[in-house]
Amino acid sequence: MRKLLNTLYITSPSSYLTREGENIIVKAEDRDPLRMPIHILESIVTVGYAGASPSLMQLCAERGVSLSFLQENGQFMASVHGKTTGNVLLRRKQYRLADGERAAIYAKRFIFAKIANSRTVLNRAIRDHGSNIASDKVNKEADFLKRYLNKVLTVPGLDDIRGIEGEAARRYFSAFNELILADKESFYLRGRNRRPPLDRVNALLSYTYTLLRLEVQSALETVGLDPAAGFLHRDRPGRPSLALDLMEELRAYMADRLVLSLINRKQIHANDFTIKENGAVLLKPDLKKELITAWQKRKREEIRHPFLDEIIPIGLLPYSQALLLARTIRGDLEEYPPFLWK
């Protein structure tokens, strides 16, 4: 597997990125320019209204460094891509699959892994904190998930898979509060809600999912797949459906566990959030930075990949799965092997 390089997050809106030779220069009003060589970077994410020069964009495109622009609230605006990622044969095959009956085979595998990995989050909590949490409740939901796991393999169509996925997600999140061990008054999940998040846990999950989605999206682009044409998620203009598909198997392991451990280790406090008049919960800027730092740190931790049987940094999971997906679509593998956390 290739190396995991750094992601540079630019969170100050007045920053401007330029190029000098093989270096990226970050200029900001309040401090000296920051300079770093492009080859140590994997991607650059700007949050807010940071600008970038066309020649830097070219450098990024040439070197396969993804450059994404997010709005202040984390919403995706645009990204810069070079010409090397367009493989028309792979994409055509992807579209044909997405329109055909084999889409369900892929969808099944994404959701199987999603349920399996969610269940492992529950089981780990029982194993690690069994005496402090309502194990019965967690156990019960984990059992349900096990049943859905069996079921998802046998149902035929996409709608059935979506149905099982919805049920399983509801079960999983209904046990989620039991996994929160610190300041349970402030941190509780009232079902899953996103637009806007109505409690702190939902706000944390949404933000972390955004970080994950960006990485999955750029991993798909890196391997030449179209992030917008999904197998399970239906086409919708502006929606990265394949990225959402592929995220399913990674959410619990990469995002949910991070949120849980930040809360449980008391790294996050109730007053890191702003609660609007209508109940919408927003993360304060410092908390966003803290989440990004934690996310980056976690990406460098290592894990043995269950299919590749190789130790890789967690941050490469989106890429390894995108690569396996592309290789399956091109016919190197008979069926797609999703990431299964054991």
Binding site: T84, G224, L308, L333, E334, E335
Partner: protein, 238 residues
């Protein structure tokens, strides 16, 4: 004896591909069919070295040798296009001064007096290889020159950067047949859009596409994906 021009502009392959294909068919499919590319130290050094040979607006004359760099090539009979790093044009003594040359061995060049014989030189970063992929690429260049200029060539050279010297290559009938055969296969695969399966070998460790190709995993695991979920389930249920 004009060769039949089998190909049109639209279905030409890249000349540089024949070297990839002769080295590893999978590597060629990944680069040319799937349009994947990845740099490593070796490819980067190769580019740096070619940078010097790659100025099409530069030509020089050294005595009886005219040196042309980055010469665009096309070969419609075999179906490829590309570029020669360096083509030397060697001045040949005309028949007036004694030695006899046929018109199929030398050509006139615009704005130059006398007759000249094209002599392709391909620049390589490393050293001579165990396989024939460098020779094959050079021979293909020569065959394109033959078609474009209507001459018959007998020789070219490979320049190896690591050794700092030239190796002369005789353009044998066997080498030519190999070029034909390789391109014929490549055209077939390209048309079908087929990426050939990964085969793991000792060549893989220096390949810049190693992480994209995943030969070690894909050549042994392709059959193991079917039971992957069931296996997980069996273990979890047990």
């Amino acid at each position: 004896m004009a060769k039949k021009l089998l190909y049109q502009e639209d279905n030409l392959l890249m000349l540089s591909g024949v070297q990839h294909y002769a080295f590893c068919k999978r590597q060629w499919s990944l680069i040319h069919i799937e349009q994947q590319w990845s740099e490593n130290v070796l490819t980067y050094e190769g580019q740096q070295m070619h940078g010097r040979a790659d100025d099409p607006y530069f030509s020089e004359t050294r005595g009886d040798v005219l040196i042309s760099r980055a010469l665009p090539l096309v070969c419609y009979s075999i179906g490829f296009y590309g570029k020669a790093d360096v083509v030397e044009f060697h001045a040949v003594v005309s028949s007036r001064s004694g030695s006899i040359i046929g018109e199929r061995d030398a050509i006139a060049l615009p704005g130059r007096e006398g007759l000249w014989r094209p002599f392709p030189v391909e620049y390589k970063r490393g050293k001579p290889k165990s396989g024939d992929w460098d020779e094959v690429q050079l021979c293909a260049q020569a065959m394109a020159l033959e078609e474009m200029f209507g001459v018959q060539l007998t020789e070219g050279a490979l320049y190896y950067g690591e050794r700092g010297r030239r190796v002369s290559v005789t353009l044998t009938e066997g080498l030519r047949r190999r070029v034909y055969a390789l391109f014929e296969e490549m055209h077939g695969l390209f048309l079908a859009g087929v990426t050939l399966p990964a085969v793991y070998s000792s060549k893989c460790k220096n390949c810049s596409l190693l992480d994209i190709c995943m030969p070690a995993i894909l050549s042994r695991k392709s059959k193991q994906t079917r039971g992957y979920l069931q296996h997980y389930l069996d273990k979890e249920m047990g």
